[in-house]
C-alpha cells in the first residue's frame, strides 16, 4: 500500500498479509490501540485469519507498544465466529438435503464452503448468512422448500410489494429462522440488476463442482474460475469495504493459481464485461496483502490506470480505519468504477434513474393499476433530492 494507513490498519494488514505467511518482515509500527485493532478485525470479518497470522509467527511488523489481552480477545471473537460457522454448516446440510429431495439444483456460494475451500477450515471466514445461487425460474420452489424448513422471509420494508421489488432488483431474497437465528439468501444473479447481467447461473450450474459437507451430504460449489469472478463481483458490489473479500482473492490466488487457465480466463472475463472488477480484486490482493499474481495477470495492462485509481480510493478508505458503511454517493461512484466501459456506465446511470425501486413503492404505495405513475413520481423525487443536495 502506497499511502500511510492508520497504525491499527497497518498491523491488521501485516497479520493477514501473504508476506507474513512467508515469514517476511515489514516496517516498524508504533503504539497500536488494541481495542481499535480488535474492532477493525471484527468489522472486516477477519478475526480468525488475524488470529492465525498471530499464531503463525507473530507480527511481520513489530509493535512498539504492547497489545494487552489482544490475542485472547481475538480468540474469543474467532470462537464466536466458529460457533456461527458450525451452525451455518449444520443449516446448509439440512437445506442441501431438502433441496436435493425437491430436485432443485443450487450452488452454495461464499460462507462455509468457501472457507473450507480457500482456508481448509470452515471457521476461518466470518459470514452472517448462508448464500445460495438458484436459477431465476427456481426461486419460487426454493422459497417453498425454505419455508417448509421454518425459514420466513426477512425484509426491512414495511410492505410486501416493496420487499418483492427490492428482492427483484437486488437479485436476492432473504430468509431467517427464529429457532436458531439462521439467515439464508437466495440469489438469482451475482450482482443487482442495475449492473446488467454478469455470470449466468445456468452456466455456472453446468460447470459446478461438489463439496462434501459431512458423511451424507454434498453440495454444488462454483468452479474455480467462476468462483474468482464471483468473489471479485461481490467485492466490487460492496466497494471492497471489508478486508475479508480481499483476503478471499489473495487466498484464491495461492490455492488455485496453478489450476486456472489464466490466458483463457482474462479474455472470457473481458467478453463477459467483468474484467475490470476481476483485475481490481486481484491487484488489490497484490497491493494490500502481497498476493503473488500469475504472470498473465501481471502482464495484463488493460484497465491498469482505471484499476490504479479504484485501488487507491479503496486503500485510502480502508487505511483510514473507519468502522462504518459507505455513504450512498460513494457506493454509486464505486459502482461506476466497477463497470468496464463508458457505455456500461451510461447504461447503469440510465437504469438507476429510471428503475422504480423499493423505496418508491414504499413511499408512494400506489395500487397496481397505477404503476405507470411511479415513473414521473420518481423523477420528481430525484429532482427534489438533487435540488436539496445542491443547496
Amino acid at each position: 500500500m502506497e499511502q500511510q494507513a492508520c497504525v491499527e490498519v497497518r498491523l491488521l494488514l501485516a497479520l493477514l498479509s501473504r508476506a507474513q505467511a512467508r515469514g517476511q518482515t515489514g516496517a516498524g509500527v508504533a503504539a497500536p490501540d488494541a481495542q481499535k485493532l480488535l474492532q477493525l478485525a471484527c468489522w472486516h470479518g477477519v478475526a480468525a485469519l488475524a488470529l492465525r497470522g498471530l499464531r503463525r509467527g507473530g507480527l511481520a511488523v513489530k509493535p512498539a507498544g504492547d497489545l494487552p489481552g489482544f490475542a485472547q480477545r481475538l480468540q474469543e471473537r474467532a470462537r464466536a465466529d466458529s460457533f456461527q460457522s458450525l451452525a451455518q454448516l449444520a443449516g446448509l446440510r439440512e437445506i442441501a438435503s431438502a433441496l436435493k429431495a425437491a430436485e432443485l439444483p443450487v450452488i452454495a456460494w461464499k460462507g462455509v464452503t468457501l472457507a473450507q475451500a480457500l482456508y481448509g477450515d470452515s471457521s476461518m471466514r466470518a459470514s452472517c448468512d448462508i448464500d445460495l445461487l438458484v436459477r431465476h425460474q427456481d426461486l419460487p420452489r426454493a422459497t417453498r422448500v425454505l419455508e417448509q424448513l421454518a425459514f420466513q422471509p426477512a425484509t426491512r420494508f414495511l410492505t410486501a410489494a416493496a420487499a418483492a421489488r427490492a428482492n427483484h432488483l437486488n437479485c436476492e431474497a432473504q430468509f431467517c429462522r427464529a429457532r436458531d437465528r439462521l439467515a439464508v439468501e437466495l440469489h438469482d444473479e451475482f450482482m443487482p440488476r442495475l449492473f446488467g447481467s454478469t455470470l449466468a447461473i445456468e452456466q455456472c450450474l453446468v460447470r459446478a463442482e461438489w463439496a462434501v459437507l459431512g458423511k451424507e451430504t454434498r453440495v454444488r460449489t462454483l468452479a474455480p474460475a467462476d468462483l474468482l469472478i464471483s468473489l471479485c463481483l461481490h467485492g466490487a458490489k460492496h466497494g471492497w469495504d471489508r478486508l475479508k473479500w480481499v483476503c478471499d482473492v489473495a487466498a484464491f490466488t495461492e490455492r488455485y493459481a496453478e489450476t486456472i487457465d489464466w490466458a483463457a480466463l482474462l479474455p472470457a472475463a473481458r467478453q463477459a464485461g467483468v474484467l475490470e472488477p476481476l483485475l481490481t480484486g486481484l491487484r488489490l490482493a497484490e497491493s494490500m496483502l502481497a498476493a503473488t499474481l500469475p504472470a498473465p495477470v501481471s502482464a495484463c495492462t488493460r484497465h491498469k490506470s482505471a484499476s490504479r485509481r479504484s485501488i487507491a480510493a479503496i486503500e485510502r478508505r480502508i487505511s483510514a480505519g473507519l468502522l462504518e458503511e459507505r455513504p450512498v454517493a460513494l457506493a454509486m461512484q464505486d459502482a461506476l468504477r466497477a463497470l468496464s466501459s463508458p457505455a456500461a456506465r451510461l447504461r447503469y446511470l440510465v437504469r438507476r434513474s429510471l428503475t422504480i425501486n423499493a423505496l418508491d413503492v414504499e413511499r408512494f404505495g400506489l395500487p397496481a393499476r397505477w404503476n405507470a405513475l411511479y415513473y414521473p413520481l420518481r423523477m420528481v423525487r430525484l429532482l427534489r433530492r438533487a435540488i436539496a443536495g445542491a443547496d
Binding site: 470462537r79 466458529s82 460457533f83 451452525a87 459431512g214 458423511k215
Partner: protein
C-alpha cells in the same frame, strides 16, 4: 473402566478445530460446547476411531502427564459427552 471399542459420533454433531481448541455443535439441540486443548486432542483421537481405553496412554505421552491421572479425567469427560448426546457407545 474405559470402553475398549470406539465410540460413535452421531451425524448431528459437528466439530470445528480452532487453533488448539475445538468447538462442537449438537445440531439437534442447538447446543454449543468448547473443548480445552487436551480435550480437543481426545476428541480428535475419538474421531479417528481410537477406543476410549487407548486414549489414556496416548494423551499421557503427548502431554507428559501420568496415565492414571489422564484416565481419571477422561471418565467424567466421556460421560459428559455422552450425556450431551455428542457420542454414543
Amino acid at each position: 473402566m474405559l470402553a475398549d471399542s470406539p465410540v460413535v459420533i452421531p451425524t448431528h454433531v459437528l466439530a470445528q478445530k480452532m487453533d488448539q481448541e475445538t468447538v462442537l455443535l449438537n445440531a439437534e439441540t442447538g447446543a454449543y460446547f468448547g473443548l480445552t486443548p487436551v480435550a480437543s486432542r481426545a476428541w480428535e483421537l475419538l474421531e479417528q476411531g481410537s477406543a476410549p481405553a487407548a486414549l489414556g496412554a496416548l494423551l499421557a505421552s503427548e502431554f507428559a502427564a501420568p496415565v492414571d491421572q489422564i484416565e481419571r479425567d477422561l471418565t467424567p469427560f466421556l460421560a459428559r459427552l455422552a450425556e450431551k448426546q455428542l457420542i454414543r457407545d
